[in-house]
């Protein structure tokens, strides 16, 4: 079952459903009866993207049309914004991009998924190779429309000594899946996979990651935090596979969520599959509410409850934003958070 195949064949029965174990909390088959018509080309204005002021180059893919490859030459350093837009006339489409980062190169990829239309089904498929000793920091801001369905999948392949860091920030969609698969060779390569989901009303977001350690001495560090309110639903599925022979793997995974409403839901599935010896793997998964004592303490100092809630929620999520390495991207992420929480700065 694949979203891309369902769109290409205009066949809703090919969509993943809750019968697929990896999609049980993000059923698309039951949600979409008919695949929306193929998105036509869009030649109108698309406005500004969230990273326009930070990147030196902006790639724009609208309704699946746009550049299909990005190459960073060995040793080169680039900061590129990638805008993946579902335009106001969007129906269903696939955006495909291949990114090749040469040995020793450095790419900061500032990716935004922008839902400017309604009722669309948008799929994005990225294939990324990170060469030996190269570095990729990928920041994803997903701002889908509440009526849209957005799926994105990145296949990231690391070479020895590569550094990959990713931070995903999303407000969800009618249904949304952001999936990252990392082929991890070990050999001093490192991966950091972080995420924030901030959901309200009836929005849904699914952050799924699969990291496969194939060789000796690799590191993976994951921190995902979420806040769900109203009737929203957050899903975190994190799988780390340590293959036979991938000794001295160091893998840590944390997923922590705040539930602000008794009708909101969080589903977390951390999975560590370890087939090697001499590995250090740990995971933590917590779901809770804001601390009433902290709210009272802030109130006693004069901070009204809505402001105290926003402040404590922002503080809960700040740890993830603080891990973003690129300063400009970190500032955008902070502003993104503050704007959505109405937190004092």
């Amino acid at each position: 079952m694949s979203v891309a195949r369902a769109i290409a064949a205009a066949d809703a029965s090919a969509l993943p459903s809750r019968r697929d174990e990896d999609w049980r909390w993000s059923d698309l088959r039951g949600l979409i009866r008919v695949v929306p018509p193929a998105s036509p080309a869009f030649d109108g204005a698309v406005g500004e993207g969230p990273f326009d002021g930070v990147a030196s180059t902006v790639f724009t893919v609208v309704n699946g049309c746009g550049p299909s490859a990005l190459t960073v030459a060995p040793g080169e350093t680039r900061v590129v914004a990638l805008r993946v837009i579902a335009a106001p006339n969007a129906g269903s489409h696939i955006s495909r991009l291949a990114i090749d980062i040469g040995p020793g190169a450095d790419l900061t990829l500032l990716e935004s998924h922008e839902g400017q239309g309604a009722d669309y089904l948008a799929d994005a498929e990225l294939t990324i190779t990170v060469g030996a000793g190269a570095r990729l920091e990928r920041i994803v801001v997903a701002s889908d429309d509440a009526s849209g369905v957005g799926v994105s999948r990145a296949e990231v392949s690391l070479a020895a000594g590569a550094r990959f860091a990713q931070t995903t920030l999303t407000t969800g969609a009618r249904r949304q899946r952001i999936e990252t698969r990392v082929a991890h060779p070990g050999h001093r390569a490192t991966a950091r996979l972080d995420g924030i989901y901030l959901l309200d009303e009836r929005r849904h977001a699914d952050l799924t990651t699969i990291v496969t350690h194939a060789g000796v001495g690799g590191t993976t560090d994951q921190l995902t935090k979420g806040v769900v309110d109203d009737q929203a639903r957050g899903v975190f599925q994190g799988r780390i596979v340590v293959s036979p022979g991938a000794d001295q793997t160091d893998a840590r995974m944390g997923h922590h969520a705040l539930i602000l409403s008794d009708r909101a839901e969080v589903d977390g599935k951390p999975e560590l599959e370890i087939y090697a010896d001499d590995v250090a793997c740990a995971h933590g998964n917590t779901v809770g509410a804001l601390d009433d004592d902290a709210l009272f303490y802030a109130g006693q100092r004069g901070i009204p409850e809505p402001e105290a809630r926003a402040m404590l929620t922002a503080a809960f999520l700040a740890e993830v934003v603080d891990r973003i390495e690129h300063q400009g991207a970190r500032d955008v992420a902070r502003a993104w958070l503050d704007a959505r929480l109405g937190a004092p700065s």
Partner: protein, 249 residues
């Protein structure tokens, strides 16, 4: 001034305060002493409006304003400050951010202009210096990893910056060594003023050697059972609370 009349408070349906009456005139510092379990902390939480502390009868007013009808932040903006016995840790919120947010919230509630960043930093630097606090500590998350003494100094710093009408100090001496106790007490004494009332809640007389009260009240079994001058604290230190517990029983 603070005026408490016939106040009864229950926690989980269990009566803790029963018919407590107390007046603290403007400019005066009163001490509340009593054995463990007498209801000292309950009195401070009830005045501050902590959820779960249910007032079943009586009244409490500050300058004529009915405190009991206000939520905690409104009471704070009306001038009530509680120095917590166990100050909370707030991960992710730098102490300076927290304090500035609180001060500006109080200014807004009173219809005053918000304080500018330079003015705020000047104010905090001066107050922190007087309490011999390292300014860099205020850039860290509030109370996270602070020692017991540092947390208590942080409470007094917040009090100094927020300049309340009524300061309630709940067991401020607990967890302080003798040097910290002196510094904290000097900080409190520096805030005594004709338009400010203080309620010092303590189990031991020791704190009152540093913060000299105008009046001392004995709280036992949820009521004030005796009141007197500073000499009452010395008598309690000598003779204990036994006779008051018997009297209350």
């Amino acid at each position: 001034m603070l005026s408490i009349t016939n106040l009864s408070v229950s926690v989980d349906d269990k009566p803790i305060l029963s018919g407590l009456s107390l007046d603290v005139p403007a400019g005066e510092t009163h001490a509340i002493m009593g054995p463990n379990g007498a209801g000292k902390s309950t009195l401070s939480y009830a005045l501050a409006g902590k959820p779960g502390y249910e007032v079943t009868s009586g009244s409490a007013t500050l300058d004529g304003v009915d405190l009991l009808g206000l939520d905690p932040s409104q009471r704070a903006c009306a001038g009530v400050f509680l120095s917590f016995q166990y100050p909370l840790e707030i991960p992710g919120v730098p102490a300076l951010t927290f304090l500035r947010t609180a001060l500006n919230a109080q200014h807004r509630a009173r219809g005053e202009a918000e304080i500018t960043a330079p003015d705020f930093l000047r104010l905090v630097r001066a107050k922190a210096g007087a309490l011999k606090m390292d300014f860099d500590m205020l850039k860290r998350a509030l109370n996270v990893g602070f020692s017991g003494g540092e947390k208590k100094r942080m409470e007094i710093l917040q009090m100094a910056v927020l300049a309340p009408r009524l300061a309630i100090l709940d067991e401020t001496d607990s967890g302080l060594d003798i040097d910290a106790l002196r510094i904290v007490s000097e900080g409190v004494n520096a805030m005594r003023a004709p338009d400010r009332s203080m309620l010092v809640i303590t189990h031991y007389q020791r704190l009152l050697d540093y913060i000299r009260p105008d009046r001392v009240h004995v709280l036992s079994a949820g009521r004030i059972v005796a009141s007197g001058g500073p000499e009452l604290a010395l008598e309690l230190e000598r003779e204990g609370y036994d006779k008051y517990q018997k009297a209350a029983a």
